[in-house]
């Protein structure tokens, strides 16, 4: 076993099963955490999966970030715990202020489900430590609002602090600075638009998603799990 992961489920999340399957195939133990919970179970890592929390109504992540569980997620992050938001989870973390920036509609104004190439621009990050510097990863994207943006001053700080972990090699959505995945200042909270859980099995064509998820699981202390 390599770590215990809490997968937060909001009304309208829809990638929680896929995340569980991928993480467990990499040796993790996972637990779903319903958004109404006010505390997290005993987990090393928190994952906010993709989907359409609260229908993405009003704005992606706008309602979800007020869910009771988000207080506990914030505490976990503030204590240095590892948090990953995938796609809609990324949007929620930005809305909650746990990650910098915001996600706008794709510049092409269409939903895009497609395999893309990414470049690892910071393999010192716990979310990409299994990658070589500059390594190319092939992982699918699946979103309508994935065009990351932040104000220019902040971008400078983010770049200076090496917070951009993943960049698109061919920008599919108009994201500022080709950002596909970015951490908070401390580096323990990570959001990315691509779906690593969709690229973990041989039958999916690429297993590059396991580089990201595996790196994250490596941060957890080895421990024995009682079978729930």
């Amino acid at each position: 076993m390599s770590g215990s992961v809490g997968i937060v489920v909001f009304p309208g999340s829809n990638c929680e099963r896929d995340c569980r399957r991928a993480l467990e195939s990499l040796g993790a133990h996972t637990t779903y955490v319903w958004h109404q919970e006010t505390s997290l179970p005993d987990v090393d890592i928190v994952v906010l999966p993709g989907g359409f929390a609260h229908g993405d109504y009003l704005r992606t992540g706008a309602i979800a970030r007020f869910s009771p569980v988000m207080g506990a997620v914030r505490d976990h992050a503030n204590a240095g715990g590892i948090v990953m938001g995938i796609c809609n989870g990324f949007q929620v973390l930005c809305e909650a202020g746990l990650l910098p920036g915001a996600l706008r509609k794709n510049s092409g104004l269409k939903f895009i489900c497609r395999w893309v190439d990414l470049r690892v621009d910071n393999n010192q990050s716990p979310f990409a430590a299994r990658a070589d510097a500059g390594q190319r990863l092939r992982i699918p994207i699946n979103h309508f609002e994935g065009s990351w943006y932040c104000d220019p001053g902040e971008l400078q700080r983010i770049r200076a602090n090496d917070q951009v972990v993943l960049r698109y090699t061919a920008n599919p959505n108009g994201a500022l600075d080709d950002v596909a995945g970015v951490t908070n200042e401390r580096g323990n909270v990570f959001g990315l638009m691509p779906h690593p859980e969709r690229a973990c099995e041989p039958s999916s064509g690429s297993q590059d998603g396991a580089v990201i998820l595996g790196s994250m699981l490596d941060t957890a202390p080895a421990r024995e799990h009682a079978h729930l």
């Binding site: 009304p11 309208g12 829809n14 990638c15 099963r17 896929d18 399957r21 991928a22 319903w34 989907g51 359409f52 609260h54 229908g55 993405d56 109504y57 104004l109 269409k110 939903f111 895009i112 489900c113 497609r114 699918p140 699946n142 309508f144 779906h195 859980e197 969709r198 099995e201 039958s203 999916s204």
Partner: protein
């Protein structure tokens, strides 16, 4: 004069039907009753013009667990593993409001699957529009695709394939057919209201006026271009609620809390209430005042027939009511007791303590009229028998490239990239394949699904066209290495009140029955959509066949793309160079379709499937792709695009353009490692399938012998033509 005698016609009921209603009630109907009859006896809900003929379809087979008549057909695809499979149309709503029309079409079919206790795991969309490039058509294309994308993606069900076809007969009447596959998670559910004393729980959205007479009335009459007037019936999709309905209901099924279960779609509450009680021989009392509303002042009849979306009706034993409500509330869903099952055999509706409707349940369902409408073969078909006079293309390379950029043939990537086709991690082959191959969740069982409907062939000869539709769907499935086992079908036609349309309909049903029997794939369900016409001009008769196939092992799976340089390319099946009636090459010239469609030999088709099955199990194939629109030329090109590998082929002597563009059925182009060709040839001989060596995989060109084009150039033409044919999207 009674109220009813002036109203029934406005509600779409005939004088005869009103007489029938009076006879069954032994009195004048109340207003609420009349409204209930009008939706339940509508063409859409009652199948009054089609039922007689649909009875001829073969519905039994070793794999069939549930045939037509329930929410969806259910097929056992491996010991103990059951899947639900069904297709539905949402044509008229999609013309009125493309985004929400298509979205609610997705929602509707998903709830059909859910009603069987199955988790929806894949969607397919079969779409037809007028030729692209005009403002109105492109608006419909954009809106429909956006609707499917926004709804299907949000509920987390992948859209794994479909078809998109353009013909001006659909310009004012697009077809939006959506199929859904589900897997029974725990126990099969039934739409029956057993056990007097059990309560009826309405789960999901509140009820508004938005859907009054929506699908049922819209789909039961033709309309003019001024369809926008039908506004009150427009329904807005709410995918968030649908997603919660899916999860909550599956949890109820897992916990064995339901005694009966059905979705709400056309006909609103009235539909499951009458169907579930009449199937069980029971009755029910419904207190409409207990139905949660989103609008004030709704009359009882409005509550009963409103087609507001995202609702399910559950029959629950009183002792299980609390847990049922608790599950729904945990999923943040509305759930309200609205009535009770009785032993009266009557559906009784109460409001303000008064009975506003009291109808024998079966009179709304089983007693609905059955019509044997007049049929007439149109004489205009006589001319089509002659065959198609086509000239040899002057510049075959140019013709080939033009063919690749035809809207029907060009890649539909622009469409399917807007769909999440991967969620669930089960999509082993998605859009771009002959059939989608789906691994069932947490299982080693995989199925193949496809939807096909060659309307042009059906216009020329509905019987033969329908057989070709079934054969093509089965062949698409067979090319992936799967065995076709069950059919769902959506029959899109003009007005049944036209004798010519009725003739087309019966011919199509006869053709489907014939081909399904011949190929051993029974029909487990479907949907009929009549009145697809605008200003009296009907669409082509358009049966859409949804074929389900089973793969014996995940390893036996075959894709369409070439895989390795040096592999041999072979054509399986026989080509008749004169099979060009209704073909893509003929259509390229424009004008009405003409000629006679290819003739299908069911025995040859079956042999081909047998060969593909055997060859995939024995791992003889590197790739397989069926031949359909555009014939061998297009199939070879798509195999090359799929694998990013060119080819060199040599065609049999003679008029090679006929070999290239003929659309003879029962053929596939396959590639094979050189060392396995002999075994494939032997198997082909044993099964009596003609086999022709065509050439070899490799190089950077599509080299047809007589002419060659660069792979990259051809691919980019094919890949971008469709998006380029659309005019700019506005908001």
């Amino acid at each position: 004069m009674s109220l009813a005698s002036t109203l029934h016609r406005e509600l779409g009921l005939t004088d005869d039907e009103l007489a029938g209603i009076r006879a069954r009630l032994e009195r004048e109907p109340t207003f609420t009753e009349l409204a209930m009859f009008s939706v339940m006896w509508s063409e859409h809900c009652s199948y009054k013009s089609s039922r007689l003929h649909l009875a001829n379809l073969p519905t039994e087979g070793e794999h069939v667990v549930v045939g037509p008549g329930e929410g969806a057909g259910v097929v056992e695809v491996a010991p103990g593993v059951k899947v639900a499979w069904k297709i539905e149309s949402h044509n008229h709503p999609s013309f009125v409001e493309p985004g929400n029309g298509a979205a609610t079409g997705v929602g509707g079919i998903v709830r059909d699957i859910l009603s069987m206790g199955a988790r929806p795991i894949a969607l397919m969309d079969s779409l037809r529009f007028g030729r692209p490039g005009r403002e109105r058509t492109d608006y419909l294309v954009e809106g429909v695709v956006d609707g499917i994308s926004s709804y299907g993606n949000a509920i987390g069900v992948p859209t794994v394939g479909g078809e998109t076809i353009f013909d001006d007969c659909y310009a004012h009447n697009p077809l939006v057919n959506v199929a859904c596959l589900g897997v029974v998670e725990q126990a099969l559910q039934h739409g029956r209201a057993e056990g007097p004393g059990n309560v009826l729980v309405l789960i999901g959205s509140s009820t508004g006026r938005d859907g009054i007479g929506g699908a049922s009335v819209l789909a039961s009459a033709g309309f003019g271009v001024e369809a926008a007037d039908k506004r009150p019936s427009v329904q807005v999709g709410d995918p968030l609620t649908e997603k919660l309905v899916i999860e909550a209901c599956l949890e109820l099924v897992r916990a064995d809390l339901l005694a009966g279960f059905q979705d709400l779609g056309a006909g609103g509450i009235c539909c499951p209430a009458s169907e579930m009680t009449s199937k069980a021989g029971t009755g029910a009392v419904i207190d409409v005042d207990r139905v949660p509303r989103r609008e004030p002042g709704m009359a009882p009849f409005e509550v009963m027939i409103s087609e507001s979306q995202e609702r399910m009706l559950a029959v629950v034993e009183p002792s299980k009511l609390d847990p049922v409500l608790a599950v729904c509330h945990r999923w943040e869903l509305g759930a309200e007791v609205i009535g009770e099952v009785t032993a009266t055999g009557r559906l009784q509706v109460v409001s303000g303590g008064e009975v506003v409707a009291d109808i024998p349940s079966t009179s709304l369902t089983d007693d609905a009229p059955i019509l044997d409408r007049p049929q007439e073969r149109p004489q205009s078909l006589d001319g089509f028998e002659a065959g198609t006079a086509l000239d040899a293309p002057v510049d075959p390379a140019a013709t080939f490239l033009t063919l690749l950029s035809q809207p029907d043939i060009a890649s539909k990537r622009w469409v399917w990239e807007q769909y999440d086709y991967m969620i669930g991690l089960g999509t082993l082959q998605g859009p771009g394949a002959d059939a989608a191959v789906i691994r069932l969740p947490d299982s080693a069982v995989a199925v193949a699904i496809t939807v096909d409907g060659p309307g042009r062939f059906c216009r020329l000869d509905p019987y033969e066209g329908a057989r070709l539709a079934v054969a093509e769907a089965a062949r698409n499935v067979a090319c992936t290495g799967a065995r076709p086992v069950a059919v769902t079908n959506c029959l899109n036609f003009g007005s049944p009140e036209e004798s010519v349309v009725m003739w087309q309909f019966t011919e199509v049903v006869r053709g489907i029955a014939d081909a399904c029997r011949g190929l051993g794939a029974p029909v487990t369900g479907g949907n009929v959509s009549f009145y697809n016409e605008t200003e009296g001009r009907p669409i082509h008769p358009t049966p859409v066949i949804g074929m389900l196939g089973v793969l014996d092992s995940l390893q036996a799976q075959v894709g369409i793309g070439f895989r390795a340089e040096g592999d041999a390319i072979l054509l399986l099946g026989a080509t008749d160079g004169f099979d060009l009636g209704g073909s893509e090459l003929a259509a390229m010239g424009g004008g009405e379709p003409s000629g006679r469609p290819p003739r299908l030999d069911l025995a040859a088709e079956r042999s081909l499937h047998g060969l593909l099955g055997r060859a995939s199990t024995e791992h003889l194939l590197r790739s397989a792709h069926d031949l359909s629109s555009g014939g061998l030329a297009v199939a070879l090109a798509e195999a090359a695009f799929g694998g990013h590998l060119g080819f060199t082929v040599e065609l049999p002597p003679g008029e090679s353009w006929r070999t290239l563009f003929s659309e003879s059925p029962s053929r596939a182009v396959v590639s094979c490692a050189p060392g396995r060709v002999a075994r494939l040839a032997l198997a082909a001989r044993e099964l009596g399938v003609p086999l022709t060596m065509l050439g070899e995989v490799g190089g950077e060109d599509l080299d047809f012998g007589d002419f060659a084009v660069a792979l990259v150039a051809a691919r980019s033409r094919w890949d971008s033509a469709f998006a380029e044919s659309l005019s700019l999207k506005v908001v």
